[in-house]
C-alpha cells in the first residue's frame, strides 16, 4: 500500500474490513488443520467449531467489503484470488499451528484482544457493520473462555504441559506488538465513528493476559522485547504463501466451478 497517498473514507473502510477479515480467515484456516487431529474428541470438535466461527466471521466481513467496494467482486474473490502480499492479516495468525499449547496460546491472545476490540466496534455508527460485529462478539466470548481455561489447565498442569505452554507464549510474544499497530486506516475509521481505539484498551488487555499467565503459574515474557512489524502492509512470514497455496489451488484451477 502506498502510504504517501491520501486514502478516501471508502478506501479506508474497505482496507479496515479486509484486515479484520484476513485475520479471521487465516487464523480460521490454521485452526481447521486440527480437524481430525485434536488431542481428544471434545477438543477436536471445539477447535473445528471455532474455525467455523472464524471463517464465518471472515465471510461476512469480506461480503460487506465487496458491497462497499461495489465493483462486482464477492467474498470468494478476496479469499481465493489474492496473493500473499495482498493479505493484510497479522503474522501472528499465519504461523503454523504448532502443538496444542501453541494453538491455545495464540487463540487466547486473539480472543482476548478481539473481546476488547469488539466491545468498541459493536457500537459503530454503521449499523450493518455493528450488527455483524455484535454477533461475532457473542461467539468470541466462548472462544475466550475456552482458551483461557486451557491456558490455566496446561500452565498449572504437569511439568511437560507447563513447559510447552511457556514455550508457546515465549515464541508468540514478538508477534503481539502488531496487535496495537495503528495507521491512517485506523485513524480514518475511528474519526468516522466506525473504528476501535486500540490504545484505549491496551493496558486492560495486557492486565487480562498477565493475570491469566500468572494464575497459570507461567512467567510473563518481556513486553519490551523486539517486535515483528509490517503485516498490515503485506509483509509476511514464509508460512503464509504455503498456506495460501493449499487453500487456493483448487479454486484457482477451477475458477468457475460451482456447488449447485
Amino acid at each position: 500500500m502506498n502510504t504517501t497517498k491520501e486514502l478516501s473514507v471508502k478506501e479506508s473502510k474497505i482496507a479496515y474490513l479486509l484486515r479484520l477479515a484476513d485475520d479471521r480467515l487465516i487464523l480460521g484456516q490454521r485452526m481447521s488443520e486440527w480437524c481430525g487431529h485434536g488431542p481428544v474428541l471434545e477438543e477436536d470438535l471445539a477447535l473445528a467449531n471455532m474455525a467455523l466461527d472464524l471463517i464465518g466471521h471472515a465471510s461476512s466481513l469480506y461480503a460487506y467489503a465487496a458491497e462497499v467496494e461495489d465493483e462486482g467482486r464477492d467474498e470468494d474473490h478476496f479469499a481465493y484470488f489474492r496473493d500473499d502480499y495482498e493479505f493484510t492479516n497479522l503474522q501472528l495468525y499465519e504461523l503454523p499451528k504448532g502443538d496444542f499449547a501453541f494453538t491455545i496460546a495464540r487463540q487466547f491472545l486473539f480472543s482476548s484482544f478481539s473481546y476488547f476490540q469488539y466491545q468498541q466496534l459493536k457500537e459503530a455508527k454503521d449499523e450493518q457493520f455493528a450488527g455483524m460485529i455484535d454477533k461475532h462478539f457473542k461467539e468470541i466470548k466462548y472462544h475466550l473462555r475456552h482458551s483461557r481455561d486451557w491456558v490455566l489447565k496446561l500452565g498449572d498442569g504437569t511439568e511437560e504441559s507447563k513447559k510447552r505452554m511457556q514455550e508457546a507464549f515465549d515464541e508468540l510474544w514478538m508477534y503481539t506488538g502488531e496487535l496495537f499497530y495503528i495507521d491512517a486506516v485506523d485513524e480514518m475509521m475511528l474519526a468516522e465513528g466506525n473504528g476501535a481505539d486500540l490504545l484505549s484498551f491496551k493496558d486492560e488487555w495486557k492486565k487480562l493476559v498477565e493475570d491469566t499467565l500468572t494464575e497459570a503459574t507461567l512467567s510473563v515474557p518481556d513486553w519490551d522485547q523486539f517486535m515483528m512489524r509490517g503485516s498490515r502492509t503485506g509483509m509476511h512470514t514464509e508460512h503464509l504463501g504455503h498456506m495460501l497455496a493449499q487453500m487456493q489451488f483448487l479454486r484457482r484451477s477451477h475458477p468457475d466451478a460451482d456447488w449447485k
Binding site: 471434545e42 464465518g56 454477533k135 462478539f137 461467539e139 483461557r148
Partner: protein, 169 residues
C-alpha cells in the same frame, strides 16, 4: 401486475412456520427466532428476512433454500429471501414454547443471556445447567463446543446421561 395480492402477511408467516431447523427438527424457524420479518410491497413482492444463529452456521444455506422452496410450493412467484445481519441473533429471541420443546427433545434450553460487564468477572466460573432428562443439578460441563456451533456438552452425574445444552448468546 400479477395475482400476487392473494397472500396476506399472516399467510406467509403460516407458510414459513412449516420450515423446521434442519439441525433441531422439533423447532420451526419462527420459534428459533431465525425468521425476522415478512413484508409485502405494493406490487405484491414478498420479502422474508432471516438471520443466522451463528456466523458459520452451515444450516443457514439450507434454511434459505427451504424457505424459497416453501414459497414456491405455495405459488408465490415474486419473492426475495434476504439475510439480515443488522441485529445479532440472540437465544432471547427463542419463544418459551420453543424452550419447552427443546427440553422435551433432550437439549437443555438456554437461559437469559448475560451482559458484557458480568462476562470478564464470570470468566473462571462455569454455570450450572440442569439435566433435561432428570432435572438434577449434579451436572458437569464437558466441552464448550458440541455437535453444532450452538451447543455445548454436559454430563449428568445423577442419571449418568450425556446431554447437550443450547448455548446462551
Amino acid at each position: 401486475m400479477s395475482t400476487q395480492t392473494l397472500h396476506t402477511e399472516e399467510q406467509i408467516w403460516d407458510y414459513i412456520r412449516e420450515v423446521t431447523d434442519p439441525e433441531i427438527p422439533v423447532l420451526n424457524i419462527i420459534e428459533m427466532g431465525i425468521a425476522r420479518s415478512v413484508d409485502i410491497d405494493r406490487s405484491g413482492k414478498v420479502t422474508v428476512k432471516i438471520t443466522p444463529t451463528y456466523s458459520g452456521c452451515p444450516a443457514m444455506n439450507a434454511i434459505e433454500k427451504m424457505v424459497k422452496e416453501k414459497l414456491e410450493e405455495k405459488d408465490i412467484e415474486d419473492f426475495e429471501v434476504k439475510l439480515d445481519f443488522s441485529e445479532a441473533w440472540t437465544t432471547d429471541w427463542m419463544t418459551d414454547e420453543a424452550k419447552v420443546k427443546l427440553k422435551d427433545y433432550g437439549i437443555a434450553p438456554p437461559e437469559k443471556s448475560v451482559t458484557d460487564d458480568d462476562f470478564l468477572k464470570s470468566l473462571s466460573g462455569t454455570k450450572i445447567v440442569p439435566c433435561p432428562f432428570c432435572d438434577s443439578f449434579e451436572t458437569e460441563l464437558q466441552s464448550q463446543f458440541g455437535s453444532t456451533a450452538c451447543k455445548s456438552q454436559y454430563f449428568c452425574n445423577s442419571c449418568h446421561q450425556p446431554f447437550e445444552h443450547f448455548k446462551c448468546i
